[in-house]
Symmetry: C2
Subunit: 276 residues, 2 copies
């Protein structure tokens, strides 16, 4: 998907909400376990109930891989189902390896003829440097969402390691932004570190940022918007557990919609406040 | 697998060779493509031909994921087949995410009842810090192989980022070695950076190191052994393409054995030189 198309979806839906599909068979409503493919059935109902409010969906690969071949089938069905809606899709996979291996990972998520998966974007870890990231950027219309500053406590272990006044996550932003462009790269910046968004925006003023950590992890949407919004919106704010597990009863999809709607309304007001 | 068992396998086979199963359907002998599961058939013949020479096998996840559900089936069959041999198994997956997600990744590779996969170890990326790594260490008898210094050119982009005289990869070693112990953690150190092994061994004198980059990537086994061998061996040296693609004809398994045997003989001499 092109950046202009993403922006036009944001404009149309008045939302920059990404819904994380961290679909855990031990947390979904128990009546779904009777379905042929419970994880897909859950995702389908969540998507049906929220696709006019969300501009992106982000399946978290771990929650599919833990179910082996069956999990990979659920993931494949989910991404194929998402293709019928006007949404941006992100494989939250945190991959990254030497060049020839990263090329294979890119095919896994970006080449449906070979793998069955056709995501618009995937998350990539920066530790192995340029030649581990560039293979993903060779796929036209596809995006790398590179980890910069993550939302977890462990982010402080190495991402703040600092040299010559620069922290590692800043160095990652500075070096990597030239590997691609605003048209094919985004960065992960955790909502729990919203105060760092000013520093981030100094380095990447126009790139889209994928912001996890609102909701269950404690980040604030208002803070994220205050420091992160740009003239093109420039944000995809993710919420996973707060939406998809809003209820564990048969009304789960309806309750998920209510949670998504709350965020969408808040986002609509925030977008309007910057005249987007 | 316990460390003592790993060491006893090394002693028995007089080898510290790990064979990387980077099984690429476009590179395996074409006659195998007629098989029901060509990737598994290839792996099976490679394993049959080399299991007395290798002490470990390392399927590279990217090469399975790129074939979607079918690839995941090939991987599952491969790890199940490997269980019949006295070998250490490593999922080269480079995973790592916030705690609750890393727990799911750990189940994917360490919990066969749920996922069908029962690896002894998996590679993990350190960027997200302690809480992204610790969930993998909660599985008894299982190992984390944490990226420290990788074999690719891009390793120089961030792994040498330095603060107070310490490079990032050294900081990763210093902090992370206390998250587990020599009984459940190893580190990746690329053979192409063998001269750095002295610095690595100062920080982790007793941990096993997984060393990729010998062969196709240009690293030297002699150099690696010189700086990396310990009284318990302490090394798993990986070779992938040089062994598994030694021939692309019907004699591929035989030729793979010859390449593996060359390395094993060299390793036997090196182990003997340190009185292992």
């Amino acid at each position: 998907m092109r950046r202009s198309e993403l922006i036009s979806i944001i404009r149309k839906k008045k939302s920059f909400l990404c819904i994380g599909l961290d679909t855990d068979l031990s947390r979904i409503p128990q009546h779904l376990l009777k379905a042929d493919d419970p994880a897909f059935e859950f995702n389908k109902q969540i998507i049906d109930a929220t696709h006019d409010l969300a501009i992106a969906y982000k399946p978290n690969l771990a929650f599919y891989e833990c179910n082996g071949v069956k999990g990979w089938q659920s993931l494949t069905r989910t991404i194929q189902y998402l293709k019928s809606f006007e949404v941006f899709t992100i494989a939250d996979a945190k991959r990254g390896d030497i060049g020839n291996t990263s090329t294979q990972y890119a095919k896994a998520f970006f080449n449906p003829d070979q793998s069955g998966l056709d995501f618009d974007a995937m998350t990539v870890a920066p530790y192995m440097g340029e030649d581990s990231v560039k293979p993903f950027l060779e796929f036209s219309g596809k995006w790398v969402v590179l980890l910069a500053l993550t939302s977890n406590k462990g982010a402080e272990d190495f991402q703040f390691f600092s040299s010559g006044g620069k922290k590692l996550f800043e160095q990652v932003l500075i070096q990597s932004k030239n590997w691609g462009s605003e048209e094919n790269m985004m960065f992960v910046v955790g909502a729990t570190k919203a105060e760092m968004l000013t520093a981030v925006r100094k380095i990447v003023p126009d790139h889209f940022l994928l912001v996890p950590g609102v909701g269950a992890q404690g980040g604030s949407l208002q803070e994220v918007a205050k420091y992160g919004l740009t003239k093109d919106c420039g944000l995809l704010v993710n919420s996973s557990r707060n939406i998809i597990y809003a209820s564990t009863e048969t009304d789960f999809a309806e309750k998920a919609r209510k949670e998504a709607e709350k965020l969408q309304k808040e986002m609509e007001a925030l977008l309007s406040s910057v005249n987007f």
